[in-house]
Amino acid sequence: MADALTLERSASAHTNAKMQVVNLVKRFENAATGQSMEALSDINLTVQKGEFLTIVGPSGCGKTTLLRILAGLIEPTSGQVLLDGVPITGPSPTLGFVFQSDNLMPWRTVWDNVGFGPEMRGERKKDYAPRIEHLLELVGLEGFAKYYPHQLSGGMRQRVNLARALAIEPDVLLMDEPFAALDAQMREIMQDELLRIWKETGNTVIFITHQIDEAIFLADRLLILAARPGRVQELMDIDLPRPRTLEIKRTPHFTEMADHVWHGIERQVRASIRHEQFASGAPKRSGAELAS
């Protein structure tokens, strides 16, 4: 274990590793029943500097748990997460988190929401104000600085959410299904915008989604997580040329990859449907049927 860690660390010195996940395990204990559930089982993963990694997997595969551990919001049961070779112990100022629901503070204007991170760090307003102005421009909300979240559309709120994460000038952006609540057209526009912003900032991005085409369209590499317990099923290189336009989604190569990912997940999804039926005790099935 210690050897593996030193090995990983020395490896990070000459490769360009930004984040490393080493033998990560997360178990949740149910206090009421005393049972423990393994959410993540022995995850190993290296994310390169400037890389765009997407993670797909069936619901219940521990995607969000993994991301929250990477963000330092919850602790793993065992194993480590290294950021630039240093273990993560809590929320880090170099990690920006984009939440699934936009989680904007309703009492703060767009400007103040975007400036939340710098303000919490105790930066002086006049120092970070130009950065906020620039970010509002970047996400196309320069005219909405004084608006409150309830006055914005879902897409605009999600862009504020993104700008807020960028305002702390993170090296790594952790994104948890940020476009899930948007309609199909808005989602495609936001994917485009995200790639443009990623190119401009040079961030490392770890992006969770349940949309296969979104995962392929954005990614340098795509990680398929298997469920129950969550574990790495496959890591795919997405060798589509950049810059990517929406037309790329209709090329045969893209569809091939999408099929491949879907076949990887399909069995998992079906298993999880069975699991849910089984857990809720709905239709009783024989053991033979379950195994098939």
Binding site: P91, M105, P149
Partner: protein
């Protein structure tokens, strides 16, 4: 060309006469319709009351007509009695209410954030919140005298609990996701309190203040009924003893007005400190 145009226009104008633009009177009517109806409803009620008092009951002891209430109010204004009683009650109310706003908000914040404080305070709050503490007025008057301070304390006791309980509910009901968001952005414990929990609780605190106002006004009057030397409740007691129903109603009308005005003031306060709630 021009003749043809006039020729074409004329018949179509006859067939489809445009609706006349609304007159300024109609516009005004539309704009103020609901407040006009409300005013009319009040006036009709007063008329009915006047009618009943003068023609049906015809006994000033049972029902005094609104016109006589107005006359009596003017007399009391001229002697300065009404101003004096209103000032007494207003002081008692504002001092007691200010005290309960401060204690209620700070106490609620402490109970909402610290488990120890919550465990200590909860049994007391549950016991006292639903008790009609106004009933303690005679005892408080015995302790603190017939003057204003016993009433200040009654107002405090009856209006502090809604503020306290609402503030606590606001802190405890703050969105867990916003707390985690703040944590992800590196907020310290104190920052989570000032930047997330406190603003999230503001609407609840305002609702608690509004409830407290209602209870506090009742508290002032009831406490003064039990024993006082001045104040609107005192005016009510004295007037009823000498069958001066005009003065009694004058005091009640002022109390009703005070309730409306205080509630409106809290609404303005809410718009000032919570402008995100459109």
């Amino acid at each position: 060309m021009t003749t043809q145009l006039t020729f074409d226009q004329a018949p179509s104008a006859i067939r489809n006469p445009r609706p006349k633009p609304p007159s300024s009177f109609q516009k005004m009517y539309r704009h103020y319709r609901s407040s006009l109806i409300a005013t009319g409803s009040i006036l009709a009620g007063l008329l009915l009351w006047e009618f009943a008092a003068r023609l049906i009951i015809r006994d000033k002891l049972f029902l005094v007509a609104p016109s006589e209430v107005i006359v009596r109010s003017i007399e009391l204004l001229q002697t300065g009695e009404i101003q004096q009683h209103t000032a007494t009650s207003a002081f008692e109310f504002f001092a007691g209410f200010a005290l309960s706003a401060v204690v209620g908000v700070f106490g609620g914040l402490m109970i909402g954030t610290s488990k120890l404080t919550r465990n200590i305070a909860t049994p007391w709050i549950s016991a006292l919140y639903s008790t009609p503490t106004v009933a303690l007025s005679p005892l408080l008057i015995l302790w603190f005298g017939l003057g204003m301070w016993s009433k200040v304390i009654v107002v405090f006791i009856v209006s502090v609990f809604p503020v306290l309980v609402n503030t606590q509910a606001g802190i405890e009901g703050a969105d867990e996701r916003l707390v985690e968001t703040a944590r992800a952005f590196g907020a310290k414990r104190s920052q989570i309190f000032t930047k997330v929990l406190l603003p999230a609780a503001v609407p609840f605190i305002v609702a608690g203040l509004r409830l407290g106002i209602g209870r506090g006004l009742v508290g002032v009057v009831v406490a003064e009924l039990f024993g006082a030397t001045s104040g609107l409740g005192y005016l009510i007691t004295v007037s009823s003893q000498i069958f001066d129903m005009g003065a009694l109603f004058a005091a009640v009308v002022i109390l009703a007005g005070a309730g409306v005005i205080s509630t409106e003031l809290v609404k303005i306060l809410e718009r000032k400190i919570a402008p995100w709630r459109a």
